[in-house]
């Protein structure tokens, strides 16, 4: 075997006490397409950012073409011939394709930008690798696929040997994704080494030469593509030990609390996915898990249910009443919908306000905290103290700013607030993300306890969480419900394939009750 172009030996990257990458050994051969797959949070992006000079690892060595290097910043990585295309584009919308591509080093003569020459360069670069773009078009007027090609050209303009792409197909249409796959092959055939991160096993099988599977910060499988199968990759991705201590499925379901009927909504710009003809029913007494790789419409689903977004078509019924038109966060909350939002800092809390003010949000509308037009200070304090105690929020100083709490304690404060007042429908989006195990266990316990009286819509990309809590699971893929399954007898393999958009050959266990409406 030739010398690997990139070799990682024992690379470990920590964020505080959290180990994102643990003792990673990885070798990438020149002129191969190397896929890195894994669930959200498996450490793929962290590893690639380390290679691109964005993170400095705590331990381990990085060898390029057999020589050890220190990749202190992106500029150094670039000089060593490593270019990266990030998942979120960093293009300047008012500039043209050409101007974006050459921004780092515009061709010039006597201080004047040689626009024609640059356009010619970009056209040639595009032709060589099959990345067709209109060099004169402004980015704002380009489709997402073209924007991505521009990003790739921007990296290629600096003539790298290794090109890293972070989930390049996440925002593309199937057609655009297919043409990107072609481009990657062309690049490889021109001698470039490609590393790309993805969730989509079909893509891996289609174009990769080798694949590395990561889970929980470690590499669990590295193999040639010809020696593996989608099923084997799915098992490696999800792991085996997921049936641990799941609760019994409860057949005694109550009334239909929430019904979505053929709900469709359109995307709002780059990266936002749309919902396509989504129908589901949520009954009292159950936890409905929504599984799927992030960005497949889960956020939009949550926004519709909580009144933050209006569907383009279809109906939303709450306790049998059509609320499609009347929906707003205030209306949905008054009808008994609680919302644990996915981003605690930007939407879950006011970090510059005292913890007390954060905890009484919602209850400030009704007695005893509300007293006429006033807020009863004693009642508010008592309420806040009670929540702090019950949910063990630390440190429990209710006068301190919410922003001074740790992530886990912020999350506990949000859960405490949202579960107050016995809501009938609890929408929990990634309720334990970035939370330590103890706090997560506690939040699970609280959610399951509420299930007796309420219905829980649990959105999570953490499969363990979904399998453990859910009575029923819907899998979302590209804005649609891929399948609805029962957790009993569900294998990780099946779930992994469904999340990757593949219907398993043998069919899946369809739920008896509820079901897709």
């Amino acid at each position: 075997m030739p010398t690997p172009i990139i070799q990682l030996i024992g690379v470990t990257k920590k964020f505080g006490s959290f180990i994102a990458n643990q003792a990673i050994d990885l070798a990438v051969q020149p002129s191969e397409i190397h896929a890195i797959v894994g669930e959200n949070g498996a450490g793929k992006s962290t590893l690639m950012k380390t290679l691109a000079g964005l993170h400095l690892p705590e331990e381990g060595r990085i060898l390029l073409r057999g020589e050890e290097v220190l990749l202190g910043n992106p500029e150094i990585a670039m000089r060593h011939g490593i270019g990266m295309v990030h998942q979120h584009f960093s293009l300047i919308e008012s500039l043209t394709v050409t101007e974006n591509v050459v921004l780092s080093n515009p061709p010039q003569r006597g201080g004047v930008f040689r626009k024609r020459h640059a356009e010619q360069l970009v056209r040639e670069l595009g032709d060589r690798y099959g990345l067709t773009v209109d060099p004169r078009r402004r980015i704002a007027d380009c489709r997402v696929g073209v924007q991505q090609r521009t990003e790739i050209l921007k990296a290629l303009y600096r003539n790298p040997d290794v090109l890293i792409l972070d989930e390049p197909t996440a925002v593309l249409t199937p057609q655009e994704a297919r043409s990107l796959m072609e481009n990657l092959r062309t690049l490889r055939d021109n001698g470039k080494t490609i590393i790309f991160i993805t969730h989509k096993l079909q893509e891996v099988m289609a174009i990769a030469d080798r694949v590395t599977v990561m889970r929980a910060g470690r590499i669990v499988l590295e193999t040639e593509i010809s020696k593996t199968s989608p099923n084997a990759l799915a098992v490696a991705m999800v792991g085996h030990e997921i049936h641990a201590e799941r609760k019994e499925h409860r057949p005694d379901l109550g009334n239909k609390l929430l019904e979505l009927d053929h709900v469709t909504c359109s995307a709002d710009g780059v990266g936002g996915s749309s919902l396509h003809d989504v129908s589901m029913t949520l009954r009292a007494g159950e936890v409905l898990g929504v599984a799927g790789v992030e960005g497949n419409g889960q956020s939009e689903l949550v926004e519709i249910v909580t009144g933050l977004r209006l569907p383009n078509s279809g109906t939303v019924r709450l306790k049998g009443v059509d609320v499609t038109k009347a929906s707003s966060p205030a209306a949905m909350r008054s009808l008994g919908v609680a919302h644990i939002p996915e981003n605690r800092i930007s939407t879950g809390l006011a970090t510059t306000a005292p913890l007390m003010d954060n905890l009484i949000m919602g209850v400030h509308r009704s007695a005893p905290v509300a007293r006429g037009i006033w807020i009863d200070q004693d009642a508010a304090r008592d309420h806040a103290r009670k929540l702090v105690q019950e949910f063990d929020v630390r440190p429990g100083d209710i006068r301190a700013d919410a922003g001074s709490l740790s992530g886990g304690n912020m999350q506990k404060a949000i859960v405490a607030r949202e579960l107050t007042g016995d809501p009938e429908i609890i929408v929990a989006a990634h309720p334990t993300r970035g939370v330590d195990i103890g706090a997560a266990e506690f939040i699970y316990e609280q959610l399951l306890r509420r299930r007796d009286k309420a219905a829980v819509l649990l959105v999570s990309s953490d499969l363990d969480e979904v399998l453990r809590l859910s009575d029923r699971i819907v899998v979302m893929y590209r804005g649609s419900v891929m399948a609805e399954v029962l957790p009993q007898g569900l294998t990780s393999e099946t779930l992994g394939l469904l999340m990757a958009g593949i219907k398993p050959a043998g069919g899946v266990a369809a739920p008896g009750a509820g079901g897709v409406a």
Binding site: E75, L91, E93, L103, S104, P106, G111, V112, F113, L308
Partner: protein, 304 residues
Amino acid sequence: MEIFTLSLIASTFVAATPLIWAAMGGLVSHQAGVFNFTLEGLMLFGAFFSVLFGTLTGNVWIGILLSGCICIALSFVWGWVVIDLGADQIISALGLILLAQGGTVFMLNSMLGQGGGIFSTVQLDPIRIPLVHGVPVLGPLFSNHTALTYLSWLLLPVFVFVLHLTPFGLSLRAAGERPEAAEAAGINVRLMRYIAVAITGFCCAMAGSQLALGLLAMFTDNMTAGRGIIAFAAVIFGRHRPLPVFLVALFFGFAGALTDRLQGFGLPSELLLTLPYVLTVLALAAAGARSVFKGLVSVPSSNA
């Protein structure tokens, strides 16, 4: 006497000159991502220093250039406060405007022992364009303006060229639109912003010089009288793009000239003077309407 005459257009050019200088200067800051509301203050400083140095040196151009240097220095101070010290751009700009009003009067009193105003011993003379001057229509329109007026017309092509056709212009616009992307491309965003506020400072000095030396050959207390705000409105209204900003500034100049004319007829000018401001409000409302009708449920954004 008619209202709409050739001389109305000629006086439009005169009234528009300071507005064009200040607005074109201001748009450079906005292009670089600095919300620059200091125009009024810098213009006032520029007017004062051009008279001061013009009188001291006896040379009008040395006076103007020194005034430009001082305004660049003042812009750097403000730039340091907002770029490096992280101050609120509007609040600190209000501070600079107040400093200009207080500072010019203070210097007038303490250095020159004058109150209210000071006459300049030099002034910008109108230039007769040789061939054009005698020609009917063209002569009265385009001849007999000051050099700063002619230079202000050059700003449009120069700025379009620099912003769009030089690597520097690309970097500046990138730094303004997506600083993190610009940093990733190796552009020094901080430097770009300092250069941009310096350009704004210089242009505002020219605006002030035209006001003080081109029209009256004197400096009076608070002589800009809100022209910097109008120029700022032109930057906002023209969405900090050179051609629209230039045209808007020219139009605001026309509104000013027309107001003067109407006043000559004993007509109330106050309402007409509000035109630039009303238009800016309408433009902002229209721009907002465009984005709202994309069908999004609007979530208020924080501007704190």
